[in-house]
Symmetry: C2
Subunit: 356 residues, 2 copies
């Protein structure tokens, strides 16, 4: 018993004895030594559901606390092939819609024990670099709320890194998506515009290559023509406030007879548009000009704007995105899913009866 093979072999063990932590942070070996158990036992103590006795757990935990031991997530990641890191790709500080999404996603990730590795992506080249970085860091998955080419997506797929798209997707390729479909609300808003006597609309849309913009524009066009409202002018912006102001200028330049309503593809541009109408053109919004838009970001409801807008349920969408990335990480073989949320119309005060 005294000489059982379970006992440590002094030769080897002694060799790696270190002067019990000295500046160095404690490892599982340090804890094991202090508690007089094996390193495996320590490891098991920190793994939920592992086979370990109460007595042992207690001893280990006591030692761990004494040494302020916390398992090294890097080392764990190496052996388990799970980094617990999720790359979150967002673009543009331009559009205040992203921060809201980003913070929400980060919180949701934290809740399930994952960390957000943040990447800002403005161009497609950025995306390229970012994907390589994410790959180096062995991220378990990617949540992309930014640009990504099909080739880039395929690369990630080939590398078996699960991707969840936030408000964008490839229609000719299977992918996992969280999306907001505001078509119902668009129809509702347009109907209301019709009822208020609007027959001539201006449109400020987003970048050509942006899917959300394209889809929203399509829905708007569809509803407008359904109700027989004419689109007298369509200009392109880039989601920023400034492009909203210049968008209205542009509309003003292009058509003699001003539209009675301008539909903006996002809130930021709508705010720019509204400010331009009021400050520069001296119009009364909504009396002289109605404005509606999309997103429902926090500031769209500030008293200066009170936009009539179609909100995306960002909270639920973020939660869904996180759930889905977890799902895909755990069961990669499972087929793709697309979760589509309805929008919600916020009445606001930026529309009124069309001026006669």
């Amino acid at each position: 018993m005294a000489n059982s093979p379970r006992k440590k072999k002094p030769s080897k063990s002694e060799a790696k004895v270190v002067p019990l932590i000295k500046g160095r942070r404690a490892t599982s070996y340090d804890v094991a030594r202090l508690a007089g158990v094996s390193q495996s036992a320590v490891s098991r103590c920190f793994k939920p559901g592992a086979s370990i006795s109460g007595k042992m757990r207690e001893r280990v935990m006591k030692a761990a606390k004494e040494l302020e031991y916390q398992p090294n997530a890097i080392a764990r990641g190496l052996i388990t092939q799970r980094s617990n890191l999720v790359a979150v790709l967002v673009s543009g500080r331009l559009n205040l819609y992203y921060p809201e999404v980003l913070f929400k996603i980060t919180e949701e990730l934290a809740e399930v024990g994952l960390q957000a590795l943040l990447f800002t992506v403005e161009t497609e080249d950025d995306a390229e670099a970012v994907i390589e970085q994410a790959w180096q860091y062995q991220v378990d998955g990617v949540i992309s709320a930014s640009h990504m080419s099909q080739a880039q997506y395929k690369l990630l797929e080939k590398r078996q890194i699960p991707v969840v798209f936030f408000n964008r997707y490839f229609s000719d390729h299977p992918n996992t998506v969280v999306y907001c479909d505001p078509s119902e609300q668009v129809r509702e808003v347009v109907k209301q515009l019709y009822t208020l006597g609007h027959r001539r609309a201006g449109l400020i849309i987003g970048p050509e290559d942006n899917m959300v913009s394209r889809e929203r524009a399509r829905m708007v066009q569809d509803s407008l023509s359904e109700f027989g409202i004419e689109t007298i002018c369509e200009v392109r912006g880039d989601f920023t406030y400034e492009s909203g102001t210049s968008g209205l200028q542009e509309i003003n330049r292009q058509v003699m007879d001003r539209p009675s309503v301008v539909i903006c593809i996002n809130d930021m541009m709508a705010m720019g548009c509204m400010d331009e109408a009021r400050s520069v053109l001296g119009l009364d919004v909504p009396k002289d000009l109605s404005i509606v838009s999309f997103d429902g970001i926090g500031m769209s409801q500030f008293a200066s704007y009170e936009l009539t807008t179609i909100r995306q349920p960002i909270g639920r969408m973020s939660e869904a995105a996180v759930r889905m990335i977890v799902e895909r990480v755990e069961r990669p073989e499972q087929s793709h899913e697309k979760r589509v949320f309805e929008g919600a119309m916020i009445p606001g005060g930026s529309i009124a009866r069309a001026p006669s």
Copy 2:
């Protein structure tokens, strides 16, 4: 020569031969095998400044490209004791000032090859949990633009994790800080207010425990009394838009005779205040009421607001924060530094001559 000790010992080498990548991602061993060199050589190829011949580099790189090899940052982190991760702690989606800082910092970090591990911190308990997480992930450093108690800071210090504070610090403890000192601009603004005939000011300040708020308030008080402007009322908000609106209500309730100017400790509250003044109280800003504030966030310059505000040079401050964290990671023994940037007054259009 044919049997030189440099040659591989088949027994051991063969044992770990794997069917040359099959779903698995390529490792340095795979590359080494394909290129017919040692793993060390591959490693050195990816380490800038390592001793390696051009010929060797070429061969390795060719093989690496073929296998799409990228070094595993997790494994590297384990051995080098450098994760290249920096925890970025920001609070509040409430205050739109944070996203601007966050995105800027992330970009700056990326530029020097570091990754931002994002943590949102709202309460002090959050900070507790976040610090443990960061510790587990072996972050090289922490940039904190959020709450952190002195005890928590000391814990990080004890663990030898460098911290850079963004716009906050402990005055009774050495620490590394990026800070904006707007005192000059405060004086300038107050002087201007004096010149415009303002003699009675209201103040909307931030949370008691927030240093930026305290400091700004102090500066404002100092300048006001220097110029003999009376602070007739001081109310406390929490940096949000809503607390700006309710702040003005509160002022209105507390004093009969309205102040001619309200000084808000940040832009968000100033916007709330302005909207409240205009929409609810029916005042003309700036004719009936002047408003000034701090931060200079993007939307403070939207046409609806055009705040006269004191901007922080966020870009330079973020850059400095990143420089400093790098510095501290590389030379932890070096003494602390505090970099203080001046503010910059943005004239705006929210102040005017005091009503008589």
